[in-house]
């Protein structure tokens, strides 16, 4: 089962990506911030997390560092997105793939599929 957790406070983006990932055989969960994402992950383990950086309540960096610091979730592949990465102090360990917004969906899909294949190997 390919389950993707999309974390973004922009509803139109999560709606759009949900529709598109479902068309490619993914099951989709969505969350509006890092806190909601952690609550979902506590009960359902996603195959990959796709998260925006700038979000209220808990941003993408805090989410990814929390996941990385916990044994159960450290191996979940993380894709971070942002339109302005220079505003954040990202380190290499925070993510597996970084994508600059705006991104074409086919390119995003390709990166996620490649990441999941690599992770499963």
């Amino acid at each position: 089962m390919k389950l993707i957790l999309i974390v973004d406070d922009e509803v139109d983006l999560t709606t759009t990506y949900s529709l598109l990932f479902k068309l490619h055989g993914f099951e989709v969960l969505t969350a509006a911030n890092g806190r909601e994402a952690l609550d979902l992950i506590a009960t359902t383990r996603p195959s990959v997390v796709l998260s925006d950086l700038m979000m209220p309540v808990m941003d993408g960096i805090a989410l990814s560092r929390t996941l990385r610091s916990t044994a159960d979730t450290a191996s979940i592949p993380i894709v971070l997105m942002s339109g302005a990465p220079e505003r954040h102090q990202l380190t290499a360990g925070d993510y597996d793939v970084f994508i600059r917004k705006p991104v074409r969906f086919p390119d995003l899909l390709q990166k996620i599929v490649t990441l999941m294949d690599t992770n499963s190997n």
């Binding site: 509803v11 139109d12 759009t16 990506y17 068309l23 490619h24 705006p102 991104v103 969906f105 086919p106």
Partner: protein
């Protein structure tokens, strides 16, 4: 249509989708930013579907995929039948590069969520570069809540951006109202018709266009067999391009030796001369001399006229020894003739400047500037229009002669503060006056901006050999009656 108008600061090409529609890309500031969502609105019959499909077929012919999604219950056969009337339509592309789908069922059965899902599926499967959604009214008729419609518009915008698709929604309304579909799109274009008496003028207006420097205000367009042709408002384009002319020291002749002698060998190259005169005073014949002189100097020439057909002009010229039929046959001279009736003034300007650019015209006659006034829908534009036109001609270094008619009966000619006089470097006045008990044609050089001239009023005659100046009227008056020709 050649790329007559080039805007000054067009954004980088790879971010813009050029519509390919004559004049429209100029109005848009170069084209439409790609992967955005646009609303094309206008009442029934305004040309929305034609405009959108014309853009679609132009790009389909370039190998791009175009998706046409209709939200009306009618079959696509009627739409195809309508499009088949236009030259841009290519039946062989239908079903291959241009795909037609019906979204009405998804909307009717599942509302906006189902429609969005359907659109996502279409975009994902077919990956079109352009999508046209015809029938936005059906979305409104499904009576969504304001929030639901806003969410739909937001999601649709995100969807087309994510899928690298430039999308057009077609809506049968007018006006820039604060509805979701107007505020949440990246661009809003309206097609409308303005009444001018019993006549209707089609006009296009760009209300907004994010990421592009478009021309404001209304621009006339026509729907022809080729599809839509847009005529950008000349003064709006000229304001943007702000082309400057480089004054020339070269002199070119009127083609009338006596007049060239009065004006220190003629006109400055690239200058604009106004020949004003009463009916029958000889303005057109002077203009024909001017053209003949250009042809003698191997210049490419053009005449724009409103009142006398090309055949009549040729005949008029032959009567005074000016034969222009050869240059007409070999293309050194062209005549554009339009009756001053239901003609679009910006279409005239476009045709004129296109011809000048294409043929590299260096000598132009506009026979009857009042023709422009007669066809202008918005008379208040005329000053700005003429300023823009004259500037475009100067920037192209076209030596121009513009004739203008004065009223036939008037006690005296009063100089006015008319702003139009500042348009012209040179002004020549022709009129009839009584000299020694008979009507004589008189010529006066009123103004030569960059050279000297003899200001004396001259007696002018027209014979089988053309125009001649017989000398100052003061000298003729002193001679015996009947001595002049």
């Amino acid at each position: 249509m050649t790329d007559t108008y080039r805007t000054k600061e067009a954004p980088a090409d790879n971010h813009l989708l050029r519509t390919g529609i004559g004049g429209l890309d100029v109005v848009l500031g170069g084209g439409l930013p790609k992967d955005h969502l646009y609303l094309i609105q206008g009442l029934a019959g305004s040309g929305k579907t034609t405009l959108a499909c014309q853009i679609g077929f132009i790009h389909a012919k370039q190998g791009k995929k175009v998706l046409v999604l209709t939200l009306i219950a009618e079959s696509h056969a009627k739409l195809l039948q309508h499009l088949a009337n236009f030259r841009f339509f290519d039946e062989s592309l239908v079903g291959k590069q241009v795909l037609f789908f019906g979204g009405y069922k998804a909307l009717a059965e599942g509302g906006l969520r189902e429609l969005l899902s359907f659109i996502s599926s279409c975009l994902n499967t077919h990956r079109p570069e352009i999508m046209i959604v015809d029938g936005f009214r059906s979305i409104r008729d499904s009576r969504p809540s304001d929030i639901a419609l806003s969410e739909f518009m937001h999601s649709l915008n995100a969807l087309v951006s994510a899928m690298s698709c430039t999308a057009f929604l077609l809506s049968p309304v007018e006006g820039n109202v604060a509805e979701s579909e107007n505020t949440l799109v990246d661009g809003l274009i309206e097609l409308s018709q303005t009444a001018d008496g019993v006549r209707a003028i089609r006009e296009l207006k760009v209300f907004k266009m994010r990421g592009a420097k478009h021309l404001l205000g209304k621009h006339a367009f026509e729907v022809k067999t080729d599809g839509l042709v847009v005529y950008p408002r000349l003064e709006a384009v000229a304001t943007c391009t702000n082309r400057a002319s480089v004054p020339s020291d070269e002199t070119v002749g009127f083609g009338i030796p006596d007049l060239d002698a009065l004006t220190c060998h003629g006109l400055k190259q690239g200058s604009v001369t106004n020949v004003i005169g009463t009916p029958g005073a000889g303005k057109t014949i002077m203009a024909l001399h001017f053209i003949q002189e250009g042809l003698r100097n191997n210049e490419t020439c053009l005449i724009l006229g409103f009142f006398e057909s090309p055949q009549r002009l040729l005949q008029k010229g032959r009567k005074v020894g000016i034969d222009l039929s050869g240059p007409m046959r070999d293309g050194r001279l062209e005549m554009l003739w339009h009756l001053p009736l239901e003609v679009l003034i910006d279409a005239l300007a476009t045709e004129l400047l296109d011809n000048i650019d294409r043929r590299k015209v260096s000598r132009l006659v506009i026979d009857g500037v009042e023709g422009f006034h007669d066809v202008a829908v918005h008379e208040q534009r005329m000053k700005a229009f003429l300023i823009a036109l004259v500037n475009e001609l100067r920037a192209r270094n076209v030596t121009t002669l513009i004739t203008q008619e004065l009223p036939y009966f008037r006690e005296s000619y009063q100089r006015s503060d008319s702003a139009e006089s500042v348009l012209y470097e040179n002004i020549v006045l022709l009129r009839s006056e009584e000299v020694n008990d008979r009507d004589c044609r008189l010529l006066s050089v009123m103004k030569m901006r960059e050279s000297g001239y003899d200001p004396a009023h001259q007696v002018m005659t027209i014979s089988d050999h053309g125009i001649r100046l017989e000398g100052p009227v003061s000298r003729i008056r002193k001679s015996r009656p009947g001595s002049e020709q």
